[in-house]
């Protein structure tokens, strides 16, 4: 994967947000080395859509979200939001666009100021932007708190420590909603919460999305959660995109070996499915300071070939709205339900040249030295 390219982007006029060739690098002390956190990632979101961004920790998904928000500004690339290129926009103009883009963070308790009252926290954005004052301001805060399921009368003068994690996340959502933003970036909004509370927050986000006409970028490491909320899912690995597809398609027919391994690692709450060794990804994510050449996933990939070390795969279409950056993707059009229909749609939509025949499956594992990559470390 771990490829680049922009084939998966939709026409620029069609999208609310379009990030092209984002690169984010951080220096490592004074060594002259760089952490390649995000390397040439392009994503786009249509108005009203939810884009899910998944990957393991260290894959750059949060950094991508922050680069879109210009927190900090990316090393290079373009971020088109509502017709403005945020990367080159002067700070004063960028500031004026900020109310349109809000963020919800992972740890709801530490992202609220412990010394402020709930009413002050939610009212602060309105005060800063002088959107309302006095009774009118109180009224907006009250309605917003009610919308997110917090009783305004009881919560008004209380402080964050008097609330549970789930309630704090509701307050964070209220704070993000109060300015009526167009886009909300949710960075792991439910991973600090219990399953029962997680379901409450996920349902709330769906309700708020409909009520406030929101566009969401939903960053998470839990594939089941991402599938539940997204209209389009992008899988990331080590600062690169692997695969982009509509969720039902991605989960039914993953084409990238990494996506498949991720899906297989999820523990399923069904005792008849005995988790086995096979399919479990060996090894660990390599260091982003010196990422592997070519495809960044090749050091852990079960399908790796010589070519993967030399040529970086580019995003290409393999199905309706389904894009993958891999030289040897899994058979995306398998004998699964809906395949015939999909093939039909594809034939109607795309020229045959966009589909490349899948190379024969590998039988022998690559020998190290030949494959130019160390074989994955055994898991056990």
């Amino acid at each position: 994967m771990a490829g680049s390219g922009t084939e998966h982007l939709r026409p620029a006029g069609d999208t609310l947000l379009r990030a092209e060739n984002l690169v984010v690098e951080f220096p490592v002390g004074r060594t002259g080395l760089k952490v390649h956190a995000v390397s040439d990632v392009s994503i786009d979101v249509r108005a009203g859509e939810t884009l899910g961004l998944v990957g393991e920790s260290g894959c750059g998904k949060s950094t991508t979200g922050r680069a879109i928000m210009q927190l900090p500004r990316p090393t290079s690339g373009r971020v088109l939001f509502d017709g403005h290129d945020l990367v080159t926009l002067p700070s004063s103009e960028l500031r004026r666009l900020r109310p349109e883009m809000q963020m919800i963070f992972q740890d709801p308790i530490s992202s609220l100021n412990p010394r402020r009252k709930v009413s002050q926290i939610v009212a602060e954005p309105l005060r800063i932007w002088k959107r309302a004052a006095g009774d009118q301001l109180d009224k907006i805060v009250e309605t917003t708190l009610e919308n997110v399921g917090i009783d305004p009368a009881a919560a008004w003068d209380r402080r964050p420590h008097q609330f549970s994690g789930g309630q704090c996340q509701r307050i964070c959502i209220a704070r993000a909603l109060v300015l009526n933003p167009k886009l909300i970036i949710c960075d792991e909004p439910v991973s600090a919460l219990d399953v029962s509370v997680q379901a409450q927050i996920l349902n709330l986000l769906e309700e708020m999305k409909a009520q406030y006409n929101l566009t969401l970028i939903f960053i998470a490491h839990d594939l089941a959660v991402v599938k539940n909320v997204s209209d389009r899912v992008a899988v990331m690995y080590l600062g690169k995109l692997c695969e982009v597809a509509p969720p039902d398609e991605l989960y039914a027919r993953p084409a990238h070996p990494y996506t498949e391994a991720l899906l297989r690692s999820i523990p399923v709450p069904d005792p008849s499915i005995r988790p086995g060794e096979e399919g479990t990804l060996g090894g660990e994510i390599p260091s982003p300071v010196a990422p592997p050449s070519g495809c960044r996933f090749r050091t852990r990939c079960p399908r790796v070939q010589d070519m993967c070390a030399q040529v970086e795969p580019k995003m290409r279409q393999i199905g309706l709205g389904h894009y993958v950056a891999c030289h040897f993707p899994l058979d995306a059009i398998g004998p699964k339900p809906g395949a015939a229909q999909l093939a039909q749609q594809m034939n109607a939509m795309t020229s045959p040249t966009t589909r490349r025949p899948v190379p024969p499956k590998l039988v022998t594992p690559p020998v190290s030295g030949v494959s130019a990559s160390a074989p994955p470390k055994p898991a056990g």
Partner: protein, 375 residues
């Protein structure tokens, strides 16, 4: 302390034919300024050699305190401990620390949630592994070194020789958790507690660590108590599951039975609030309303009644005992169990009234239902 016997709490009275672990009505209460917190309130179970018990519950359900109570890893002050923990027939509750020291590490060991904070950051990994080998097995330096090396390879750490001389911060999270497992296994315990061993790890690494634990357990014929909040983690990897809620076991069953024939509305609600991969996207999730109860003043009747969609008047006043289900080994704590005629009747009554006896709104949400009007 020149005992040469390896392990053994007292050396006497241990019966190798007894169940490995028998926990009888264990209670752990904490005295606080606000009142007594009943963190674990009467839990009993038995565990045989080589078996795996999954303990599942939300945060605050008492699952971690339960495993610490069994191991005797609790603060000394302001704690009330009651009940019995029979390890190979000997009650180890209330044993002084000097005697427990022969149990910890050599008989039972624990793998903690956060591998960074459970390792000593200023000691080399080799030293942390060999510490218990010197203490319990009285090994000499060379033997301890060789054993540590073998342990590190058995938990799948590459270049073990080099790792022995490294510090925890030089390893990744997954590798650190492997080191923690190696330390826990060093003296060959018969019982391993794994307290949320993979919660701090990534999903692919989680699968690796769970596979490793399972493989080591099989090789060593070790019993394991796997504590987690994730029903997915325990589903394929345990023999039995105990579901905890507000300090009590509310359902205990062999794993396949629990999933195919669950009786407790809480278990059902917990399972249906997890997003599943086979649901289409934008499926509305069934939620458990409200929050777990305050353990200082738990509800009078069933502790789950204030959040339960089956709740009736009786649930609010009378606490259900552990009732045996038709399948042997299956117990639950409910007056109106899921799938029973009484349960069905209670649910339809609540549906008709639009609310349960505790006032929770009950509406018929077909599952899985796609959200209408998705963009």
């Amino acid at each position: 302390m020149s005992r040469k016997v390896i392990g053994g709490p007292t050396g006497t009275g241990r019966d190798p034919n007894a169940k490995l672990l028998r926990v009888v009505d264990i209670k752990t209460h904490f005295r606080t300024e606000k009142g007594t917190v009943r963190a674990v309130d009467g839990v009993s179970f038995t565990l045989d050699r080589g078996r795996t018990l999954g303990v599942v519950g939300e945060s605050g359900s008492g699952k971690t305190i339960l495993s610490r109570s069994i191991m005797g890893l609790l603060p000394k002050r302001n704690v009330v401990r009651q009940g019995h923990v029979y390890y190979e027939g000997t009650d180890i509750i209330g044993l002084p620390d000097e005697e427990m020291r022969h149990v910890w590490g050599s008989e039972m060991a624990m793998v903690f949630q956060d591998p960074m904070t459970s390792l000593n950051p200023v000691k080399k990994i080799g030293k942390q592994i060999t510490e218990s080998l010197f203490l319990h097995l009285h090994m000499d330096k060379q033997d301890a070194h060789d054993t540590a090396l073998a342990l590190l390879s058995s938990v799948g750490i590459p270049e073990p020789e080099q790792r022995l001389n490294e510090y925890p911060h030089q390893l990744s999270g997954g590798m650190r958790q492997r080191v923690v497992i190696a330390i826990a296994l060093a003296c060959g315990p018969k019982l391993l507690f794994a307290d949320e061993p993979t919660t701090a790890l990534d999903v692919t690494v989680q699968a690796q660590i769970l596979n490793l634990l399972q493989q080591l357990q099989r090789e060593r014929h070790m019993a394991m108590i796997l504590v987690t909040h994730d029903l997915g983690v325990v589903a394929g990897r345990t023999d039995e599951i105990a579901v905890m809620y507000a300090g009590k076991v509310v359902e205990h069953a062999p794993t396949p039975v629990l999933f195919s024939n669950m009786k407790m509305p809480y278990t059902e609600a917990l399972l249906s609030s997890i997003p599943k991969l086979d649901y289409p996207s934008h499926t509305r999730l069934e939620v458990i309303p409200g929050r777990p109860p305050d353990l200082i003043n738990p509800p009078r009747g069933c502790r789950f009644a204030p959040r339960c969609k089956y709740a009736q008047e009786r649930c609010l006043n009378e606490e259900p005992p552990l009732i045996a289900a038709e399948t042997p080994g299956h117990m639950f704590r409910c007056w109106f169990p899921v799938g029973s005629p009484e349960g069905e009747e209670a649910l339809s009554r609540n549906l008709a009234a639009g609310a349960s006896a505790s006032g929770v709104p009950v509406t018929d949400v077909p599952m899985p239902a796609s959200l209408a009007g998705r963009s």
